[in-house]
Point group: C2
Amino acid sequence: MELSSFITSLVTSFVIFLVLMFLFAWLSRKPGNNVVYYPNRILKGLDLPDSRTRNPFSWIKAALSSTEHDVVSVSGVDTAVYFVFLSTALTVLLLSGILLLPTLLPIAATDTGIRQNGAFSELDKLSMGNVRQNSPRLWAYMIAVYWVSMVTYFMLWKAYKHVSELRAAALMSAEVRPEQFAVLVRDIPPPMDGETRKEQIESYFKTIYPGSFYTSMVITDNKKVNKIWKELEGYKKKLVRAEAVYTQSGGVRPTNRIGFQGLFGKKVDTIDYASEKINELIPKLQSEQTVTLRDRQLSSALLFFSSKVAAASAAQTLHSRTLDIWTVMDAPEPRQLIWSNLSINFYEREVRKYIVYFIVLLVILFYMIPIGIISAFTTLKNLVKLLPFIKPIASVSSLRTVFEAYLPQIALIVFLAMLPKMLMFLSKVEGIPSESHAVRAASGKYFYFMIFNVFIGVTIGGTLFGTLKEVEGHPNRIVSLLAQSLPDNATFFLTYVALKFFVGYGLELSRIVPLIIFHLKKKYVCKTEADIREAWAPADFKYATRVPGDLLILTIVLCYSVIAPLIIVFGVIYFALGWLVLRNQALNVYVPSYETCGRMWPHLHTRFLAALLLYQVTMLGYFGVKAFHFTPMLIPLPVITVIFAVVCRNKFYRFFQCTALEVASHGPIETPNIEHIYRSYIPPSLSFNKFYLDRFRDV
Amino acid sequence: MELSSFITSLVTSFVIFLVLMFLFAWLSRKPGNNVVYYPNRILKGLDLPDSRTRNPFSWIKAALSSTEHDVVSVSGVDTAVYFVFLSTALTVLLLSGILLLPTLLPIAATDTGIRQNGAFSELDKLSMGNVRQNSPRLWAYMIAVYWVSMVTYFMLWKAYKHVSELRAAALMSAEVRPEQFAVLVRDIPPPMDGETRKEQIESYFKTIYPGSFYTSMVITDNKKVNKIWKELEGYKKKLVRAEAVYTQSGGVRPTNRIGFQGLFGKKVDTIDYASEKINELIPKLQSEQTVTLRDRQLSSALLFFSSKVAAASAAQTLHSRTLDIWTVMDAPEPRQLIWSNLSINFYEREVRKYIVYFIVLLVILFYMIPIGIISAFTTLKNLVKLLPFIKPIASVSSLRTVFEAYLPQIALIVFLAMLPKMLMFLSKVEGIPSESHAVRAASGKYFYFMIFNVFIGVTIGGTLFGTLKEVEGHPNRIVSLLAQSLPDNATFFLTYVALKFFVGYGLELSRIVPLIIFHLKKKYVCKTEADIREAWAPADFKYATRVPGDLLILTIVLCYSVIAPLIIVFGVIYFALGWLVLRNQALNVYVPSYETCGRMWPHLHTRFLAALLLYQVTMLGYFGVKAFHFTPMLIPLPVITVIFAVVCRNKFYRFFQCTALEVASHGPIETPNIEHIYRSYIPPSLSFNKFYLDRFRDV
């Protein structure tokens, strides 16, 4: 890529960002948009910033002046931990840049190693590619590799310690978290004859914990009762809306059709119909609840303890002689419990896990094959055969051309759009009992997919297939192949990173899309206050796709940090801008849908180290390509990285799996209301009324 | 080997066994030998069998009629678990033999595949070597491989379950075991200023376990106090002996020299000298005890809890946020605590472990090199230079010949004799806190040494070095090489196993060596009752060398079970005879020096499976050598073995690491005397008198 075209694309992106930022400044001043730009503050009942004093940069000031404590109190520990990740990445890149930019750029620029044949850009002259083979100048690059690695170890160690303290502080806080008093037990053996599940569970645990065991909740199969409950809730909503329409229209009773999606079938009076349905469903729900609680008990339960220490201790000890029955673990929060996964038994979980891993491996390695096949079959001809009604469209010549151009890509586009959802589905199929764990699992899978396909794929893609014969039987060639093709792609990735941060974060900040959707919904769909509230209800951070994205950028920047040090500048801007924009979003917009007290961190830490390892191995290969005699001096680095990972895991990880007792022994001064804690775990479809609460207790 | 010479050696071994057995029957009748043949019964205060009714086979009847319960009550759970291992191995071989012998022997005998060129024995005709290449008869052998594997899985599964129950029963028994109320905590961080260790520990654990924490014992550096105490005990013994000599000799006061080993120096009156020394040492010990308890406190402690559940739960939970401080584990029994290892910190333990593993690996692979070097240097010439005083011996020509013949072997013989002790030393250097764990670690190392050097070494030794060039670069050749050289060695191993069981178990049963030593000691060394008691004090089972020996035989028999099925007969005799002889020894002779409630089992189980895996891989290679087209049908077997190992580990292993709470919740009906439990952990050198007991509490 020419220098001029690179700068053009950079300037364009920057202008787009500026436009979006001013758009944000302008739109967020209008009181009517407050629910789009400040939903988190509104839901938390906090003051909104005064629209008159706001200038286009006041949000930056607010973001910069906010403390970690503000983030924890407004958005929770998980968000704070995500910012620790962003600032760690930022500091690593800043510290690397401070040493690398003033030294490596002049060293490269004053050398003449670049090949004179054919296309090369001005930018390439600043990269390691411009240093001659086995030049003593490469010593500077080798020191740089060590510097970046050491800075990373140091910052990651500090960050792990800090996050560990954040987690401890959250778990020690005076706030009562129901999950700290609860334990999830799975794989309960069949009860003896004449004994109910509840009796079995309570007699088992009361023997072991005579003092601290409070009660248990047997997990039930809620599929049927959930269905009825959803139907009932649907009709209740319909009734409220119909009444609102009735009032607004001044006496015209609204009607609807009772067939498919309200499009076909008999026309009925909505208010009458919904009321009738509700009256019909309430007793049905009640009897279904009774049946569920009595007959659909599964082999899992939640246990409730009267103290945090007892619960933390029970969640990490071996109860049965064999590990495959009475399996215990920390209870997830009520809101993130995946109720339907709770009763999958031990061996099935193991088998499912390995099957899912195998499927994901296949998807990562061979996803192009089915897409290729689908593309081959989705020609216009075949489509017309399958769906005869598109024939008139296909016969228009201009439309036909467009179709034929885009059809082959459609399968790929659809696949890439569906991928995060598919990975999330696969992670849930593993039998993971909590939403947050499933998000972490999906995020990990997505990371490996992206690293393999975007980074490695783009970098060596063309080269690899051309020289597959060369590589065959010599897998260690892959490293040097990867290294050889790196410099050519440096400029491509510079542009990719730049585009990603300017346009991506511009859209993120301005919230153009949610704003438009909200106003459209408000105008055409919403009938009641509840409808409007639902229309602006903010999402959460969507870590499952956000984190792999950040990690991909981090991997790219690390891998090129020494080869083309200019990329560090872009990396710094990416993480600085990300920190700033997301700080604003955390404080004002997003509402986390769960709280894990920082369990995401070990996941981030491991992948940060994986990126570092990839970088070190790549550099080993690239120094080899440069025929540098002292290349083996880089070998200790990957070894140190692995030892560092093991030490961190040994030292810190277990506290992120379970609660340390010294932490659990601090907490609410007054004894919490355990009845209240117990009730918070009853799913809405079973908590119909007080009567059923009591029934639940007595099963 | 010719059939006749094989039978000769077999018959000789059997005759030796018969002689030793009758010797045992005759010697064990004499009441004067009771302390050698029934020490365990004497120490336990049980009746001895009536010597008049004993016939040469009555011990067999007694062994056969004893139940597992008898073994547990007389010799503990560990011994019972060892018998489970013996009977599992025996059953596996019996069930294999029942199918394999009547089918495979005729199949081989009626074929003509054996090479007609050169030496082969009659025995070889019965082996798989006599079946022609790719003969359909090989199907029978393949089925046999599957049969042996399936029988092993089944028996091992049953055995693991059974041992798990034995362990649970022992841990649930009403007997008070001090270690069930104690927890070992290591890596305690430095205390705050003005806080004693004891205060630090108690405030930490009282916060977490307000109800169940009883007290703590800080581990101290006892090197100095132990030395003084040993000296004191030595003089006490000396005094008692001198007084006995004085009484027996009718008034002649015994004297001794105070120099090196009582051989040099001034002659003194022993009674006066010892009394004087004792009076000197008692105050020295007392002041040393005070100093030790006050100033030599280390960063470890034993914690005592008032209930088994609390202790079991505390031993398996995470207390601190980081895993490298406040590390907890089950307390070992007082008698097997390796006091000096308790204060090695977390990282040092890890580093030591890997260094020891590395050293052991070097020893296993390259032990011949230093021995070769030493042998090369220990020529008679060099020895004479180093030790001039052997010159007169070396000049005698006949002695010179003997010397020159044996000198080269001496290094090897010394090495092999020292190896178990060296491995035990290395295992203790790892920082393992309990004697039994060190024994298991040493046993494991010895097993791998034996398998590698005896089995693989003898089998492929000659072949390998001759064809090293062939193997180079094709490591998968090793398997087929191993397989190719197996049939040649089958007869060698038949003889080895036969010799081992007839002579080995004959010596074991007759106890000739301990008998002679006892009588010599009694006659020439022992002066007092205590001396005599010490002279016959029985040893324990010495699992560190016994178990690897059994496992080696098992590996050999399994590996040849299909190739030369005749070896199964010998294997069955080995384990049957072993069971019988050791049952007698367990009931009458050996006294276990510790009790781990079956923690040895997972160790035995894993190595049993390792033997099976080696067998399966060898068969895979051997079928390949036989050019059998369906050889790949054996590939599932090693995979199944690995899966079986993982499933067993997942299901059963954790209960052998720590106590399941459902087990700990059963136990002594009355609350035990915790003060008593506490005192049982005070090392003898610090428990001088009541006064010091109290001091210990107050530090």
